[in-house]
Symmetry: C2
Subunit: 379 residues, 2 copies
């Protein structure tokens, strides 16, 4: 017997309502029954997105939706500004490169957030920039961007603001319309508490104009087709029916809780996690710009970071994430997003304390859990 | 209380093993646990595909996998031959057009199969043709192509043979290696008895050479990335974890039954369906080239075809498919594919008899069911 705990930044654990919805007999997608689900899910997404814009549901993982946003608004030879402060910022650059879109890059030190003024300067010095690609929460480092401030810089220009909100949507605040996020890309397996397999994109009227003009080749991800279908409450190709039905259940749950309560829950869990690891004498990788969805923690010297993560998972059933790319072995990441709550965090910290002790790291056992409890008690 | 029966050519009904697998707590994809599943599922797919080639699992619906096959082997300005005898043959042409690939088209009358000699002639008269795009079973008309014969025509040339086997794989015979199918594209929601959301592609060594040379832009569907990942039992982007786990369960079931038994079950159901509708005085839309996965039946004059399908579904819970595009209202389609067996066909025919009678069509009640029973009894 072993119980498993998932504290990873995607996939996040699935609520029983999702498991139940996915274990129902399947229905056909060209039926009034599925149309009703699609309509309700699309409306529910608008609530989570805080938008009146169209939101499209794609059968793909988040990266597919990122590609869709880029190829639908930019043509080969166009210029985009990419904010690059981690693995997922780099993905924007890779996508642009694959489609012959020129990139201006703002390289942000991993663990830091971009300074919105740097974006303003770039936009002023290069009026060719048609789109700004940003990341709401850079999962590889745990850093959250100030999309509100970035939106103010982009709003007055001809450029559109594209936000990768795969990590963060439905977990931390993102006022799509009020902040001027023209395209917001997301996925199912993070704040939305579903298995991976769905991508989402919202499109503002300003971005729609670029879609009409874009000369980049696309078919499966062609948002002109998606728009035509959505206007008839349909999808251009067979949707991932089961996941859309489960999405609808999740959105109902989230509406019932309300965005404010959801954001507060995430903030409290993040505060508790940060307090706990600091009380153990560990250093946060992003002490100033840490997001409320995932916390990256520096592995102390003399501790094998990969072994730490592996032991927690393979010996005790608690899965957290290690570092990616240049952070491999140097950080570990604890997610506090989606269907994760107070006692999951307590479990994660408790297991971390256990394995750190076994690996020879010195601290007073129980310190981390106590620090987290203090935060939860106050909230 | 109403029970629902799904006799549509995708999605097909889900076995309880699939529902159970999807209702398990989710696991993370970068774990030995998921790697073991991915490895086993990939091997299982090779059995179904009857191939030693690599088979890739994509998080997309079948159309995404079709696009992936085209953009990975052809560059803008290249020429492809498309066999077009229905809605899904036309999709190949649309994909080529979107990516500036020139097309030679063999237009086949809807309801007929392509003559392989026509393909041979085209290949001889136009040595520029780099790829031949075909459809194993054209779902819109129910027609099966003779891939074995087509393979013989293509084998000796420089062109690669690409087969859309979205409908048909795991239901009717397709000897990928023996017949020389260089790329076989499929999806999860048909013969493989899963919800939609997974696409599959097999790639022969001959096709791999084109992949290295292709200049078409691609990122999410880049099979070079997929190959690199597969060699480490990984995926380039987050896979649709739940569906891959369910796929693995289905593949175990299918291996246990064995391909021969599966193909025979489909043939028997198809024979029974054809015998039943003919005994009711109805005409098959594809009397000579009808596939064993879906049967298209001409709607008799004076009967409203759309109303027939709607009444069966909305009043009696039996969902069959209507006609698509130019066949709207002119045919209905009964699927006998995937997790469908003898008594599902009996149910479908019985409901058809009931509604046809109610709509004023004259025949002796029970005739269709009897004809089907005779086939099943003999098998």
């Amino acid at each position: 017997m072993r119980k498993n705990y998932l504290l990873t930044p995607g996939p996040t654990p699935l609520p029983p309502q999702v498991l139940e919805a996915m274990s129902r007999p399947i229905i056909h997608h060209r039926t009034p029954q599925f149309q009703a689900v699609l309509k309700e899910a699309t409306e529910g997404l608008k609530y989570i997105y805080q938008t009146r814009n169209d939101v499209f549901i794609l059968a793909s993982s988040g990266t597919g939706a990122m590609e869709a946003s880029a190829v639908n608004i930019l043509s080969p030879g166009d210029t985009a500004l990419v904010i690059q402060g981690g693995k997922f910022g780099e993905r924007w650059t890779e996508i642009c490169k694959a489609y012959a879109i020129n990139t201006e890059i703002i390289n942000v030190e991993w663990g830091k957030a971009v300074n919105p003024l740097d974006i303003e300067n770039k936009l002023k010095s290069n009026p060719e920039i048609k789109a700004v690609f940003t990341t709401l929460c850079e999962t590889s480092t745990g850093v959250a961007s100030n999309i509100e401030a970035i939106g103010k810089m982009v709003k007055g220009t001809d450029a559109v603001l594209v936000v990768d909100a795969i990590s963060g949507l439905g977990a931390i605040d993102l006022k799509t319309d009020d902040w001027g996020a023209d395209m917001v890309v997301s996925g199912s397996q993070k704040g939305l508490m579903l298995p991976p397999g769905l991508g989402f994109i919202s499109v503002s009227p300003k971005a729609f104009k670029l879609i009409e003009a874009s000369k980049s080749p696309r078919y499966y991800f062609d948002l002109r087709k998606a728009k035509k279908a959505l206007d008839k409450t349909d999808t251009p190709f067979t949707p991932a029916i089961t996941l859309v039905i489960a999405l609808n259940e999740v959105l109902k749950m989230m509406k019932q809780d309300g965005l404010e309560a959801i954001f507060l829950r995430h903030k409290t869990m993040a505060d508790a996690t940060r307090a706990a690891v600091k009380s153990l004498g560990l250093k946060l990788f992003a002490p100033e710009a840490g997001s409320d969805v995932v916390t990256a923690v520096c592995v102390p010297e003399a501790i094998d970071g990969e072994k730490l993560v592996k032991t927690m998972r393979d010996t005790y059933g608690v899965t957290i994430a290690g570092g990616q790319d240049e952070l491999k072995g140097k950080v570990f990441r604890i997610a506090h997003m989606g269907f994760i709550e107070e006692f999951d965090i307590i479990t994660g910290i408790s297991c971390l304390e256990k394995v750190l002790t076994q690996m020879g790291y010195k601290f007073a056992l129980g310190t981390g859990v106590k620090a987290a409890e203090e935060i939860f008690l106050k909230s």
